[in-house]
Amino acid sequence: MTDFTPLASAIGGSLIGLAALLFMDLDGRIMGVSGIVSRLLPPGEARQWTRDLAFVLGLFAVAFGAHALFGSVPGQTVTGNLPLALIAGFLTGFGAVLGSGCTSGHGVCGLARLSRRSFAATGMFMGVAMLTVFVMRHVVN
């Protein structure tokens, strides 16, 4: 069980929207994490690479500052095991690059642009993810 936190989630969502806006306002690019992370892999272009690395370092900085900021490291519960994590990680990375985006690029930025492609992609990955959770939780287990 996790607690129902609509207010915190809405505030967090606003920050995510703000970050996407900031990225577009400053550099004119879509803030898509799968794009940002995959562009760090070679071959890369220097200016992009610096920007994308800085974004990832910002994410790490939040993680490392979380204890000071929130008084404790934010709780996480992960189900599964290492083999499952390896399979899931591979599919997540492969699918996100093949489909030109993930939750941030299609889900936030794409819907915000009213992109047809992003509506289709978001509907697809949300639907498949829901089906996957249903099968894993209620059919397999």
Binding site: S14, D25, G58, L59, V78, G89, F94, A121, T132
Partner: protein, 151 residues
């Protein structure tokens, strides 16, 4: 300058992931679980995120260029092709298996590292997070290699 800007965007984004609860895979899976005892909190994340980004983007469309680059790189493609749908389906499968998407997974690498400083049972086991991110990078590299983007 661009590095500082991207760093700040990363900070704000990461803060949003933690505050919203997106960084906790259990919360993500409870949201995705359509069959009861679910936690619908994350339904409240996308709305404000899309609203703020959408209103902001609409304003930016009237500007000639962004503050730190020569032009806006708005995506140009409009066609819904099989590559898009297949990729999204594979991504959804991976996301649903563990509850990590790329942003929270990368953030969790930082969180996992803190287990060394503040051992906490509430954190994801570092091996799972590390394994997920490593495999994600392999998947990304392979997709880039097998199916390079034309545009």
């Amino acid at each position: 300058m661009i590095a500082l800007a991207a760093f700040v965007a990363g900070l704000v984004f990461g803060l949003g992931l933690i505050v919203s609860g997106m960084s906790n895979p259990a919360k993500v899976l409870n949201f995705l679980d359509i069959s009861g005892h679910r936690d619908p909190s994350l339904a409240f994340v996308l709305g404000p995120a899309v609203l703020i980004a959408g209103l902001g983007f609409a304003g930016l469309r009237r500007r000639a260029k962004p503050l730190l680059a020569s032009s806006f790189a708005w995506p140009q493609k409009t066609e819904i092709d099989s590559r898009l749908l297949l990729g999204a389906a594979i991504f959804g499968l991976g996301w649903g298996l563990v509850g990590f998407c790329p942003g929270p997974a990368v953030l969790s690498l930082g969180l996992a590292a803190q287990n060394l400083v503040w051992p906490a049972e509430t954190l994801a086991p570092a091996a799972i997070t590390l394994g997920f991110v490593a495999a994600m990078l392999v998947g990304m590299a392979l997709a880039r290699r097998l199916a390079p983007q034309k545009s």
